[in-house]
Symmetry: D2
Subunit: 350 residues, 4 copies
């Protein structure tokens, strides 16, 4: 019953098998391995983007920070939600990699950017010559940090606003697969067809050990990205071990299967919680995360029974009146079972 | 017969087994995994440094750049050999991570820093107030990029010069194990007992998939290092997969065994080459790298026979008179066999 | 009738005379001029801070950015008002100089930081290990960008909150003199006695050509500041010309006289405006700036009559119904005369 | 008899007069002053470059660092002489402003870049993919730090090599006027006609208080330069005081007159020294600097007689045998008189 994070889950056995298979003798290093050729081709197919540049890195912060730095100059403002991962969970990696860009924070329910707020902020940024930072780019997170999923139309609406000022659009897709299976969209629809210029296409949270792809739809940016990746220390010498993970991920739609399973577990969990008379959900459980509000005593019962997850906000505590409502975040993974979910529901139902 | 790079070699089967074992259910993320506790303790034992801070990252450039940035301010000069990896092979990662330090380049045979040159440069750096960059730190690479190994006494001599100006000393040990088995020194003797403050303790080139440890002997630097690692995008969420590799590496001295095997293969290779009447070695084959000069025709025969390695310098070519001497770099790995070596020697002997 | 900015005003004749006097033959460069010795001593006296480090630079953005960079690491958050100069008017200079710090924006009427908001934000920043940027420092602007003046007690209250987390406090005193004469405080009371660690002590907006002092109360930070100033290109070779301006500024309290005159002009202006039946002030005219709201037609009359100033916000326009209220910013300078003020009032009264 | 530095000299009286004249009432700030319009037009005329972008800053390090950062990416190498000002006298400002570029150091007599060395270095930089820093730009200093002047042909030769790899060329002209009057070239011939893309056109060392112009021949770089200038804190609010200095500088060729006078003084000085039987010159006294080697006793006599200058290298000392040859640097300024020169010669002749 571990709902702490999809980051705490194991890698899928097929991924481990692919690693073992890739570990066969010598291979060209630094991304010249033949598996990467296959992966690049496959990702271009999946995204219907034959000219796109495709790279692998090992953490989501890296995928995001390199993407932002490649598209936004140091004096550019990056417009993102105030609860975006790039703002709250990367210790300033975007600022570091861009050379000091400013993240401009936007409101919106469930960590989805309010389009009106984006437009207002961009209009208000009417530059007074060189005195302000300049409009730089827009970064959208799908699935959001609060578990909500943007529809393709919602992404397109935000991108359309960005394009009023010719701004590039980044999609932080650390949970891209989970967003995709919810929205029934194709990868192309969710990205470049909607106006997205670069996407962090996550794998680590969805069954890989540590791989994220970056897909850049304008190949003229490719070389700069490669230099930034190397200079950041993110080019793996034994790159085949990144390639192999991504290869297994894409084979037979394993990535979509894992995301569907995680989302289904979350739905079962959310439905079970919502059926309680004294429970509610802070955010729609669109993907693989559930943000319930429960009486403190129910949390206590869950923890006593061995469930693992975080209260939300993180400085919430179990000390206090037992009937007080207390928020939490539960994350389902590709390997979360019905037994895990039902076991948790049993605990909190007592 | 792949002598292209130790980076092109596979991971040791015990490493793969450790990864498989670590992939068992859920685990705490971001370095809080229990395997890391074990690894930290073991590295502290190996280095006889119970207070040291120990971190894992996934590339050698990262280990180096974060180490340099933690010990050297942006206005500090980093003294290193002109052929050091930090200068020639990291696309400016040290400059990026330090915020613009200047690498001051030193001479010395076989890519070993000439102590007299270090002292001269440091004396000449007599600061003229704020006008110059200030003396910052010294970075030593052992094994050097040209395959030579510093003795403990040689490292201590360089560090002693650094300490005349209270400068911290970094050891780039991407091939630390190979250096150690050659010099018959203990890890402590090769590092802090010789005056080294921080060491990049390599694993990737010696049988791991992608793990390097950073060992910092002054724990007061630990927190800054952790922030820099995170901010650089180098903190793995599923950190246990780094820990597990290092765990296997250290178990039963696998790291030393692999290094001994690689070094022995290189010695066999160097001896075989040196026995040829028209061959010579550019650098002593102290560890796992051999830099022969051979008539061009012998290279041609080797490549025709399927051997893989780089000419040196890298812009050397096979076009030209067959008797002309042409340099090369051959790297042996933990898995290089006597058959590989003898097969190569057979080819060039024809 | 130029109320566009105190930046548009000339230098005081005594300043010009001091420059001419300083231009006498050769002088030691880079801050070693004897006038700087005198200035340093005088500023230490004025601030009752005999150990303080005192430096001169030529722009307010520089004084701020160097001060922030000296006290806040790249991974530190700088807490400031959302309308602070460091946030809105320096094109990201703080981010550039700090190496990518994040400015965390606070609310508060009249561009004064709401202490409760500061405390809430700092509490909410309860660090989750390395994942967030860390609490870094607090920057207060006095006079605020909206013309309000913090009392000493208000600054002390903010600093006291900062000190709960041992954070350094910066005072952006581009209009320090104007704030001081309003609050009847001594420089020491307004700064270190209230908990301020470093102050940008402005001169350019108050009668100098281009000089700001930075006063650092903890001399252990002095050397780092000097290196950052040089590295930023801000150390003047012919430094005596900065020193001479500051010398004249401090002589016979010229700086306070000029500030008093500017503030008095603003008060006369504010009183005159407030007496109009259809006018109001957006912010208290505590110092030398007045932010009136007037019917559009009155602005038109003023501009037609030759008055110069900016509408506020800057994208406001004179196109529209003549009775609509439209905001503006009028800034008085050391040389603004009663005739200037009365001339303006005459125009808008018509 | 002050030969310490042209930085220690005063501003020309006409410059002071221009400042006084510019200090007349209010003026538009941040470079929108009408004097700047005039200056811009005049510099475009002088350089025969009607489309060029022209900016003013207050220090030479700033002019250089902003120029380099505008033309060279963080991963680019800047090729310069090992004794260039950008390398030895700016505390790493180029590295700071570029975001961590690497300065690649070249040899050459009298601090003039040896074209063969430049070509060799650029050829050797044959990039190995992303592993190295990339070829970035070339920076040439004229007058060199050792007082030598490149002819137009020499600059063109270096630029031609740079253009083999399409690299931009920067000219550090802190003493541009002194170089120009020596070489009898026009500003256009010395710069864009010879292949220079951006020039730091110095004024401070040649009779101004603190102004350098940057002239960018490709106007597409102008906006980025403006943003970098602002972000670096180098945009003056009361910009007219920079403009006015440059206006006076250019009026009636004052800049050329001052440079001619300084060069003539240096020639008189060099000739007088060279006539001594035990003296020699380390470098040709092409412009306004003289680098003599004299018996120590002659230096002692000069210092005893009140002469001011630096020994060279800077750690040379007057302690030692009186006949030992000791180097020195003497700099003449626009205001150095024949009496100054002859007075010095009298002292050392004794």
């Amino acid at each position: 019953m571990n709902f702490a994070s999809d980051n705490a889950s194991p890698a899928h056995p097929k991924v481990m098998a692919a690693l073992a298979k890739a570990n066969d003798g010598f291979a060209a290093s630094y991304g010249a391995d033949p598996i990467m050729d296959e992966v690049r081709g496959r990702i271009r197919e999946i995204f219907e983007a034959p000219e796109s540049a495709v790279y692998l890195v090992s953490t989501g912060s890296t995928a995001n920070a390199l993407s932002l730095a490649t598209f936004c100059p140091p004096w550019g403002a990056i417009y993102c939600h105030e609860h975006a991962h790039v703002e709250v969970d990367e210790c300033g990696a975007p600022e570091f990699y861009t050379g000091g860009s400013k993240l401009v924070l936007l409101d919106g329910a469930h960590a989805k950017i309010d389009p009106a707020h984006l437009q207002t902020k961009l209009e208000a940024a009417a530059p007074v010559g060189v005195h302000n930072v300049q409009r730089g780019m827009v970064s959208i997170t799908n699935v959001t940090e609060f578990g909500a999923v943007y529809s393709v139309a919602e992404i397109a609406a935000l991108a359309a606003i960005a394009k009023l000022w010719d701004l590039p659009v980044h999609l932080d897709g650390a949970r891209f697969a989970n967003a995709l299976v919810t929205s029934n969209a194709s990868p192309a629809e969710m990205t470049w067809k909607a106006g997205v210029d670069v996407v962090s296409f996550g794998g680590t949270k969805n069954g890989l050990m540590a791989v994220e792809a970056v897909v850049i739809f304008d190949p003229s940016k490719a070389w700069e990205f490669e230099l930034r990746r190397k200079r950041g220390g993110h080019l793996f010498s034994k790159h085949r071990f990144l390639s192999a993970q991504m290869q297994a991920y894409l084979q037979d739609d394993l990535w979509l299967t894992m995301a569907r399973d995680a989302n289904a577990a979350a739905k079962r969990l959310a439905d079970g919680i919502a059926a309680l008379p004294d429970a509610s959900l802070m955010h729609p459980a669109d993907a693989n995360m559930v943000f319930p509000v429960l009486p403190r005593a129910r949390h206590q019962a869950a923890f006593d029974g061995g469930a693992q997850y975080y209260l939300a906000p993180m400085n919430a505590t179990l000390d206090g009146p037992p009937d007080d409502p207390v928020g939490a975040r539960l994350v389902c993974s590709w390997c979360t079972t019905n037994d895990d979910v039902d076991g948790f529901l049993d605990l909190i139902r007592r």
